[in-house]
């Protein structure tokens, strides 16, 4: 199912004018706060009625202001995971989870309660009330509640923003499982580049109420205009080969071996690794006597000078793209140009745990 969204809405502070199409998988709406992400998701949910617009899920028209059609939120069959959980305080976890089932049409394809409880690890929480749950537990229940409403589309509005780093690390894998195990499309709002790299099949980058870029994460993450100079990054698909006794994991990419601080996944599993553009060093010749462990070979596809002193250089590493941010001075001195072969050097310790996620999904590399 694809989701087509086109809305215009006028606020006191800024105007929203957004159109994009979200294919299957996880579509991440990415942008700084105040860029219109939440407004957009609320419009899809029916909680906010935009001045003008059209929203179509599959072949179902949810909103068409031109035709004066607006399906009320309770008939839209969505599962909305809010930033603050919004669990019902007067109901137990079990009652919260099954709340949506009361209203789902008979025979709707919903996962079973035991399956969701197992997927999200909620077994010990069922008889508690939301007041007695931690932030991470609340968000897991909120995800389960949305899933059990038999939604045709899942919306998640910065579901990790209210959590600390440890809780984020606890919840993110559940969204990865949703993406890989549940066929329902997900519209996910985030302002974290790491979440984009780990979850997205499609990224819609927003700024000041406008779409600045749409595409697969490998493409949008390297887009300085969309991500900002410091947010620009690339995503490599890597397969875990082995864990070593010195605390490192050995992974195989199409451009060579990648050594990372120990990852949790078993050998054989496929991971997505986010590498910030500013952490990549380029070398024309294969360097020797270097402390960095990771040297990947690739071919330059693009050299893009920035407005300041920097330049973005993109390499094709097998099917993946790797973007490096260097100075224009170095790019000129090295005579970098598309078509040349080049080596990318990445410090092992520059890759943080939140940059590594599971990903059997393709990145849809351009």
């Amino acid at each position: 199912m694809t989701l087509q969204v086109s809305i215009q809405h006028r606020f006191a502070r800024f105007d929203l004018d957004i159109a994009f199409e979200a294919p299957r998988g996880v579509t991440v709406l990415f942008g700084p706060s105040g860029s219109g992400k939440t407004t957009l998701v609320n419009a899809v949910a029916g909680l906010l009625r935009p001045d003008a617009g059209r929203i179509v899920a599959g072949d179902w028209v949810l909103l068409d202001t031109a035709a004066r059609r607006c399906v009320p939120p309770h008939r839209r069959r969505l599962g909305y995971v809010f930033q603050e959980g919004r669990l019902f305080p007067h109901l137990t976890v079990r009652q919260n989870l099954t709340y949506g089932r009361w209203f789902a049409p008979r025979g709707a394809a919903a996962p079973s309660l035991p399956h969701v409880v197992d997927l999200l690890g909620l077994g010990d929480l069922l008889d508690r009330r939301p007041g007695a749950l931690s932030g991470g537990e609340k968000q897991r229940v909120a995800i389960g509640r949305a899933l059990l409403a038999a939604p045709k589309l899942i919306l998640a509005d910065e579901p990790l923003a209210a959590l600390d780093e440890a809780r984020k690390a606890e919840i993110l894998p559940y969204f990865e499982r949703l993406r890989d195990e549940v066929s329902v499309p997900i519209l996910y709002v985030s302002h974290s580049s790491a979440e984009v790299a780990r979850l997205a099949t499609t990224v819609v980058a927003l700024r000041d109420g406008r779409v600045t870029a749409v595409g697969p994460p490998s493409q949008v993450l390297g887009d300085v205009a969309a991500m900002g100079v410091r947010g620009a990054a690339s995503v490599l698909v890597a397969r875990v080969v082995a864990h070593h006794a010195d605390g490192l994991s050995e992974l195989a990419t199409e451009g060579g071996r990648l050594w990372l601080p120990q990852v949790a996944d078993a050998p054989g599993s496929t991971l997505r690794v986010r590498i910030a553009a500013q952490d990549v060093i380029l070398s024309r010749a294969r360097p020797k006597g270097l402390s960095a462990l990771n040297i990947l070979g690739g071919t330059i596809t693009e050299v893009r000078p920035g407005q300041g002193p920097g330049a973005m250089v993109t390499l094709a590493v097998g099917a993946d793209r790797l973007t490096a941010r260097l100075t224009r001075r170095s790019a000129q001195a090295m005579g970098l140009a598309p078509g040349q072969s080049c080596h990318a050097i990445i410090k092992t310790v520059a890759v943080a745990p939140e940059d590594v996620g599971t990903g059997t999904h393709t990145l849809g590399a351009a």
Binding site: G46, L47, P73, H74, L78, R86, P89, H90, W102, A149
Partner: protein, 236 residues
Amino acid sequence: MGADWANWLGPDEWQAVRLSLRVSLVATLASLPLGIFAAYALARWSFWGKPLLNGLVHLPLILPPVVTGYLLLLTFGRRGAVGEVLDQWFGIVLSFRWAGAALAAAVMAFPLMVRAIRLALEAVDPKLEAAASTLGASPTWVFVTVTLPLILPGVVAGSILAFAKAMGEFGATITFVSNIPGQTQTIPSAIYAFLQVPGGEQAAGRLVIVSVALAMGALLLSEVLARRVARRVAGA
């Protein structure tokens, strides 16, 4: 124990206590749906004439009760605009009947009930209701499954306050439905009547004790429930 109580109060006094309980109970229960509706309208909706509705609801709190009673008599009396219709079409007569006493009590207690429910409603996070609607609940179901359970302590507290107020209503009642033993003579009217005749002080005193006991009980109960509301709101 029951027999002792029965002997402690004279038959006239018992009659007044029973009538008071019946009038107050009917007044509270019958006005509750309207009270919830008015509180919801005042807390959640913005509409033309909202200040007018707000004023109308609170008017009995500020007006002299005699004035409220007289207005009720003009409206719901046999010759009143509404009273005449009720009498001719439905055979319902309110003036000088216990049902009229219940109406007077309900009108006088209404502002207290609405205030308590409105406060509880304003403490409910509308985001929870939005969440329920995204899960498929229609506005009616959202109210029944989320809003109502969350405001229930406020509804109970408001009802108890209204009940206590109805038990004590005197001015509007005696103006609207007079002071007929067995028909409209509630505890306050009975105390007033006993005090008008020589030697009635003892009967009046006993009814005073009953009134104080009932009022204190109601107040304590509503206090406990109000605290529970506060706890729940803080815990959410």
